[in-house]
């Protein structure tokens, strides 16, 4: 019954990836401020039920790789007023992440 979308995980710790810039209608778990940004994978958090599908009742087996990613605040906000060392971490599901190379070849 378990549908495996990507197995094994597409990304590993240290990979630099881009958060997709898409605007689906419905329940999504990627804040607007992160879309289109380049982030670094900090940790693979394992496979979790994808809440974007679960919100529509698909909660049996729709598990997806899930990562902790990091970005420097000054890259997130060009006019960031804090310190250069400040950063942000957030969890993102794999379908939202694209390898940089893949994007460059498109």
């Amino acid at each position: 019954m378990v549908t495996v979308e990507h197995n094994p995980a597409l990304f590993k710790e240290g990979d630099v990836v881009r958060v997709d810039e898409k605007f689906p209608i419905g329940h999504y778990r990627v804040p607007m401020y992160l879309r289109g940004k380049t982030v670094t994978i900090v940790k693979n958090l394992g496979r979790h039920i994808n809440p974007e599908l679960e919100a529509f009742g698909k909660n049996a087996g729709d598990e997806t790789w899930y990562y902790q990613v990091r970005i420097l605040q000054k890259l997130l906000w060009p006019d960031y007023t804090g310190e250069d060392c400040d950063s942000l971490e957030i969890e993102v599901f794999e379908p939202w992440l694209k390898s940089i190379k893949e994007n460059e070849h498109e």
Binding site: R29, V30, P31, Y33, L45, H48, I49, P51, Y66, Q68, Q73, L76, W77, Y80, T81, G82, E83, C85, D86, S87, L88, E89, I90, E91, V92, F93
Partner: protein
């Protein structure tokens, strides 16, 4: 309120009047809940029990975990590597299928937690979140200008300490393991727990001696 209203109890208080009509989502929740109960899928007592469980949790549980981690390095390692197991070891059940993740502050790193999309919060450990945590102002500004938000909470982080905003989006629930303040070497567990307030575990404050 009618003029011949009688109180059975002795003290005076202003009358408790609910003037606002229930909103759209409140009506939706009541309708769905009543339907679920009517169809026998859940019981009214189960709903009540869950509310009772939610209300039984408070930041005191988090303070206990923090102080135990300060005092016992081995527990600290277990808490950082598997929050759920460490909490359950202390008799705190994680009832909501989330992963309790503890983030450790250091001399060079200060964490602050926010949920920009809604109100993800480690409820099994800290109880219900404060109203400000759910406000749009806190949720939008903490990711945008964390140092300014922290300053408004009276928390000034030195320039050479990294401020790391942890945005919580789905399965993880975060709590900060703050630094133990110096000068607390002779403190008892209870005295230490009193320093570890709710806000220090969200990261908008840091434990301080004589905070009153």
């Amino acid at each position: 309120m009618s003029k011949n209203h009688h109180h059975d109890h002795a003290h005076d208080h202003t009358p408790i009047i609910i003037q606002e009509k229930p909103g759209y989502y409140e009506i939706l929740e009541i309708s769905v809940r009543e339907l679920l109960i009517e169809k026998g899928l859940i019981g009214a007592d189960e709903v009540r029990k869950q509310i009772e469980l939610l209300d039984s949790r408070s930041p005191a549980l988090g303070s206990k975990l923090v102080v135990k981690a300060w005092l016992e390095p081995e527990f600290r390692s277990r808490l950082l590597s598997n929050g759920n197991a460490a909490a359950e070891e202390m008799g705190i059940t994680i009832y909501d299928n989330t992963e309790f993740t503890v983030l450790e502050d250091t001399e060079k790193l200060h964490y602050v937690i926010v949920c920009t999309l809604c109100s993800c919060y480690p409820r099994p450990i800290l109880g219900l979140p404060p109203d400000w945590y759910k406000s749009k102002e806190y949720r939008s500004r903490t990711v945008r200008e964390p140092r300014a938000v922290l300053a408004e909470f009276g928390t000034l982080i030195p320039d050479d300490v990294e401020v790391l905003v942890q945005d919580s989006t789905a399965s993880q629930r975060y709590m900060v393991l703050p630094l133990r303040p110096s000068g607390t070497e002779s403190f008892s567990e209870e005295e230490l727990e009193a320093l570890v307030t709710r806000d220090t575990m969200i990261g908008v404050s840091i434990p301080k001696i004589n905070q009153n």
